[in-house]
């Protein structure tokens, strides 16, 4: 049974068909990568799935329920989370505070006007677990804007975990990372894939082939290929779209 299914999703911006009839299904704890050249529509697809923008056509089903037109915050509460290609953390807050805000939302403590934020121990005590699980415990009290880029990418994923999701959409988690930091992110995603369903957009082919159970290739808003990593590696259409010729890795 699919955990999450995207059916015939389409979105145009003016004359540009950003996403053009995309169908994707993920089973529980599957890790599926979406690859494709820049402008293929991968981030737009994420925006559509998570309710950030409204599709022209198509549906999103989660555990059999039609969640297509839910706004972002409701989508998140259903169990779908997302990290971002461009850094999207709260730069003025510390690692601890970033995570705390997510847990506070998840536990429904947002609309309290007159209690002190620090007095919410039930929220505070859940923070260390997440901070440690991503390996940022020694930087807990550092402000996000003072963290390295690599730590910020990790934080971006960590924040997504605070809503206790079943599905997580990771948008280019290793972009801009150096070799060692990529390894760190790889380990983290590998750990997450043991308990979460993951849809991963990536450009780093090493990461894609190391982690993916299945690979989907997009170009100009359409899916041009889908299958096991080895099949995709050999697929000529993919090579054509991506490199105009041969794989270089």
């Amino acid at each position: 049974m699919e955990l999450i299914a995207i059916e015939n999703m389409a979105k145009s911006f003016g004359g540009l068909r950003a996403v053009d009839g995309v169908t994707v299904e993920l089973k529980e704890r599957e890790l599926v990568s979406v690859i494709g050249p820049n402008g293929a529509g991968k981030t737009t697809l994420f925006n559509l799935i998570t309710g950030f923008i409204k599709p022209d056509r198509g549906k999103v089903f989660f555990k059999g329920e039609d969640i297509t037109h839910l706004p972002v915050q409701k989508m998140v509460r259903k169990g779908i989370a997302r990290s971002f290609q461009l850094l999207n953390v709260f730069s003025e807050l510390t690692v601890f505070e970033n995570i705390r805000m997510g847990i506070q939302a998840h536990m429904g403590f947002g609309f309290q006007f007159l209690t002190s934020l620090d007095s919410l121990t039930e929220v505070r005590e859940k923070v260390p677990a997440i901070v440690e699980s991503v390996g940022l415990h020694d930087k807990e009290n550092v402000r996000a804007k003072d963290l390295s880029y690599g730590d910020n990418k990790i934080l971006d994923v960590a924040i997504a975990l605070t809503s206790n999701p079943e599905v997580i959409l990771l948008d280019e988690p290793t972009s801009g990372l150096a070799m060692r930091e990529t390894g760190r992110m790889l380990d983290l995603i590998g750990k997450l894939s043991e308990r979460l369903t993951i849809l991963l957009v990536e450009h780093d082919m090493n990461v894609v082939f190391a982690l993916s159970k299945r690979i989907i290739v997009m170009d100009q808003g359409k899916i041009i290929a889908e299958g096991l990593p080895d099949d995709i590696r050999k697929d000529e259409r993919v090579q054509e779209a991506y490199f105009g010729g041969e794989w270089s890795c």
Binding site: N88, F90, S91, E92, G110, L117
Partner: protein, 331 residues
Amino acid sequence: MNSFGSRILRLGGHPITLTLFLFAILPLALPLIGGHISLATEILIMSIFGLAFNLLLGYTGLTSFGHAAYLGLGAYGFALCELYLTKRVWFVPILSGILLAGIIAFLVGFVISKKRGIYYSLLTLAIGQLFYFIAFRWNEVTGGETGLTGLVRPSFRIPGLFLLDLSNATLFYYFVLLTLLVTMAILRRIVNSPFGAVLQIIKQNETRARYLGYNTFWYKCACFTISGLFSGLAGVLYAMFTYCAFADYLYWVNSGDVVMMTLIGGGLTSFFGPLAGAAIFIVAKNFFSSVTQHWQIFMGIIFVIFILAFPEGFFGILRKQKLFRPKTTSG
């Protein structure tokens, strides 16, 4: 000296305590330098207005260009209640002013909170002017151009002791000071609450806040409402201060003034910014307008200097000189 004693000393040397002490003795000191207490009273009232405004601007990142409307609604609510309902039960007119401003602020907030950036701000400007025109034209209710006059300040009878008549300027000053302190305590609590924390992340990154699961629309709406309530309180006090309510209170220039005050004081990064801003703005306005009829040029110059050279305002300057260390991110 024991630790309790040294704590008291540290508390006493704290800038806030010093400021409070200064405000407390001001009515006694002012006449000595030929000043009138009404200037100080006006500063306190505008501080309340500025604090209310800054909840929206400094904490949530929302710019309202029509906020004088809520001060004006507070003044009119107070006035209408006194003139048509009761003057004698002291808290009823006060409550009427606050609630009128708050309810209208909720309705406006509900309508505009889906909008972003410049559209949001322009809507606040348009709506503010709409209320100005209603106040100016609706002769039967608002008195039109002449406004509503003949208001009284409440008087409190302390049983068995004496009568506190707020028509005494000094007593009124302390009444307003007390109100300011209560306002500061409540708003301080709000910004340090879970709700206040969400406002602050909306300012930093509204998209991510939504992706955490917060329905940011309701937070922005609630923020606008709370801001409206306290702006209304400032309006109630202003009506008491002037003994009248005029359409002019809602005029867009006054909305612009509170923006200027808040930025000059350093509201974007400090809770106490609006207080400094109100003091600087009102003192400067008073000074320049007594010296030249072109005082608005000088006010403009001061504003431009602050924006260019001291974008974090007065409290930003203090912080850079290490004269003031805020506890939290936003002071």
